[in-house]
């Protein structure tokens, strides 16, 4: 706990510099650089190491990274899909590497379609994931921390949103708004997903806010926002990461499904769901030689989703206070031999509180 109180302690102590007892402490104040270094350790290096130490998370992170790279630089490197860019309906590798995954019934390169569909999918996932995270964390933290009437009102809204069946609502909203922009689509697809996160975060915050260091901060007269940001948020961050990943899966499932059904409008968008739809209606299920047309988007979606679930399962270990503490302390002693390691370890143990 020492490190935490030290950290939260520095700010107010600057403010109240008149007492002798306080000045003694202010000598140990961290420089700006040290502070950033410590933040980096805690938010990037320690989680990174934990992710890397768990095989599932490592494989999952690798798969996700692959898709991110594919989405970021793939479209620039690989040709765009166009009608009649190649012979129609040829099998994968039939003409060497010209059409690695073959072409569809309009002569479009299938790999090109998959590659060029990735950026909009990533945008959709990022928009949806961010929306879910921001909404869930805000509503959950405010409800859990403030309690009383605010909590009741927010909890009621959360429960209502959670109860509305998501897919039918998304179908209706998609029909109403006809989103073309992937970011808007991402928001619509997660319109009710944030509620689950908000509810979980609320219960986490409820237990954290009973801890002594939060009471200490309150007693010192820190403002509510700064208590929330400094004492509470750090503890729920690992959880938020997992939820981001789950929201991403939800976006993929829903978007592909709705593009497949033709519920989401598409004129120019290439999308894995649209590919499945076109493959199914183009007879890929009936003609054995067209199977690759359907297999390619199915495999693309399954692999990404598998990567995300492996990653989220692996990072589940970040919940485990002991694992976190162990890693936080190694990071601490590696980069900061002044003994902050012990402090970080204690924080870690407190941080994993369920």
């Amino acid at each position: 706990m020492s490190e935490r109180s030290e950290r939260t302690g520095t700010e107010p102590l600057h403010a109240i510099e008149d007492g002798d007892a306080f000045e003694a402490v202010s000598e140990t104040t961290l420089t700006r650089k040290e502070r950033y270094q410590r933040l980096l350790d805690r938010w990037v290096l320690a989680p990174g190491r934990i992710v890397w130490s768990e095989r599932r998370a490592r494989i999952g992170a690798g798969i996700i990274l692959l898709y991110v790279i594919l989405g970021l630089i793939g479209p620039a490197l690989y040709k765009e899909p166009r009608t009649n860019q190649g012979p129609r309906s040829i099998a994968p590798l039939a003409e060497g590497l010209a059409y690695p995954l073959g072409t569809d019934n309009l002569g479009r390169d299938i790999l090109a379609q998959i590659v060029h569909a990735t950026p909009s999918m990533l945008q959709m996932i990022a928009a949806g994931g961010l929306f879910v995270t921001v909404m869930g964390v805000t509503v959950g933290t405010v409800a859990g921390y403030s309690g009383g009437r605010t909590d009741r009102a927010l909890s009621l809204v959360t429960d209502i949103v959670m109860t509305i069946p998501g897919l039918p609502l998304i179908v209706i909203l998609a029909a109403l708004l006809e989103p073309q922009n992937p970011i808007v689509t991402g928001l619509i697809l997660t319109v009710n997903v944030w509620a689950g996160l908000a509810r979980e975060i609320r219960s986490q915050v409820l237990s954290i806010s009973r801890h002594s260091y939060v009471e200490a901060s309150q007693a010192m007269g820190l403002s509510t926002p700064s208590i929330i940001v400094k004492d509470i948020l750090p503890n729920i961050m690992p959880y938020v990461l997992i939820t981001f990943v789950n929201a991403a899966r939800q976006v993929i499932f829903a978007s592909v499904g709705l593009y497949f059904l033709g519920v989401l409008p598409y004129d120019s968008v290439v999308n894995w769901g649209v590919m499945i739809d076109q493959a199914v209606s183009g007879g890929a299920m009936h003609v054995a030689s067209m199977a690759h047309w359907l297999v390619a988007p199915l495999a693309t979606i399954t692999l990404l989703s598998f990567g995300l679930i492996l990653f989220s399962q692996g990072t589940d270990r970040m919940f485990n206070p002991r694992v976190r503490a162990r890693h936080a302390s190694t990071t601490g002693s590696d980069d900061d031999p002044t003994g902050a390691g012990d402090g970080a370890a204690t924080t870690g143990a407190g941080g994993g509180v369920r």
């Binding site: 109860t163 179908v171 359907l294 679930i309």
Partner: protein
């Protein structure tokens, strides 16, 4: 405890009312305002009709009185819904409630079967995995469960229908039952009834399978987690020291305590399975409620869409409500905590 029940009931009511209000405004916001569109159509096709008659027809169709003040329209709409009047399908010309009443049993049949199957399979698998934690059996099935749980169920559906439906022609690729089959459910005709039921199951089998395979993985992982947690509890050691049989420990001590938390999840899943049927029923061209929702969407048949949406929402609200109220009876430990939810 009393207060909890009252609050929970109020909450369910507030939810239903909010969703009805949401539906009302969505219906009014729908592109091409269905009321105006329908009205224009009526005026064009029936020039002799009076204004009042047209308004009346529109009202019957959409539960919305054209030109009335918003609050009056709203009251009218909600009273209609509460009396089971979901409006009239624009395309089929029959009340939406009729279409849903006809389709709902099929969706309930498939989804309930799928849910119970996946629950039974998942729970037994998860318990076995927990007992053999760390073994090849556990690792193999864990990876399998994660893999299956990571595939959207409609993709499993597409693959199943592709191979078992089209390629090997073992299963039908759509519909509720064969066209030459007379739907008979009667005690006096056991043979026909059995044949019909068998045919219906055969038609629903792939749909049920694609939901089950995916969901069972999820249940198995959750059950495994719960069981492992309980296996480490002290009372289990005490039970062993008392010399209770391993079988009794497995069923009474571990199984029961690990399954109980899943009860709430199961009831909630019932509601969500209804919502999830939207894509699956489309893949299998199985005319359940989800199928009609997309039909309604494609035909811009807003009353039909909204009707399905409302029915599904009420189902979820009921499921969650029953789960919350009965959990205390099933698991007495929850009763002391009940008020805190």
């Amino acid at each position: 405890m009393q207060r909890y029940y009252v609050e929970r009931t109020l909450q369910a009511i507030v939810t239903v009312v909010s969703v009805m209000s949401l539906a009302f405004f969505l219906l009014r916001l729908m592109p091409g305002n269905p009321a105006d569109a329908y009205r224009a159509e009526l005026i064009q096709n029936n020039p002799q009709m009076t204004q009042a008659e047209i308004d009346h027809r529109v009202e019957r169709k959409l539960n919305v009185i054209p030109d009335a003040p918003l609050h009056e329209q709203y009251v009218n709409y909600v009273t209609g819904l509460l009396q089971g009047d979901l409006g009239e399908s624009i395309n089929e010309g029959v009340p939406v409630a009729e279409i849903i009443a006809e389709a709902l049993p099929w969706t309930i049949f498939t989804m309930a079967t799928a849910l119970l199957l996946s629950f039974a399979i998942g729970v037994s698998l998860g318990a076995m995995m927990a007992y053999k934690e760390g073994s090849y059996f556990d690792n193999g099935f864990s990876v399998g469960s994660i893999l299956f749980n990571s595939i959207p169920n409609y993709i499993v559906g597409i693959v199943l229908i592709w191979f078992l439906g089209y390629r090997f022609e073992l299963f039908p690729t759509g519909g509720r039952y064969s066209t030459d089959m007379e739907p008979t459910v009667a005690l006096l005709e056991p043979l026909q009834t059995l044949a019909f039921l068998g045919d219906a199951v055969w038609h629903a089998a792939l749909l049920i399978a694609s939901y089950t395979v995916v969901a069972a993985g999820g249940w198995a992982l959750r059950m495994r987690g719960n069981s492992i947690q309980i296996l480490g509890e002290d009372y289990l050691r005490v039970a062993r020291l008392r010399g209770l049989s391993e079988r009794r420990i497995a069923t009474r001590y571990v199984g029961r305590n690990a399954v109980l938390p899943l009860y709430t999840a199961l009831l909630i899943a019932i509601g969500f399975a209804l919502g999830g049927s939207v894509i699956l029923e489309q893949v299998f061209t199985y005319p359940g409620v989800g199928y009609y929702m997309i039909e309604g969407l494609e035909a811009r048949d807003y009353p039909l869409m909204m009707g399905v949406f409302l029915v599904m929402t009420v189902a979820v609200v009921l499921g969650v409500y029953i789960a919350d109220l009965t959990y205390g009876i099933i698991d007495p430990r929850a009763q002391t905590r009940g008020g805190e939810h």
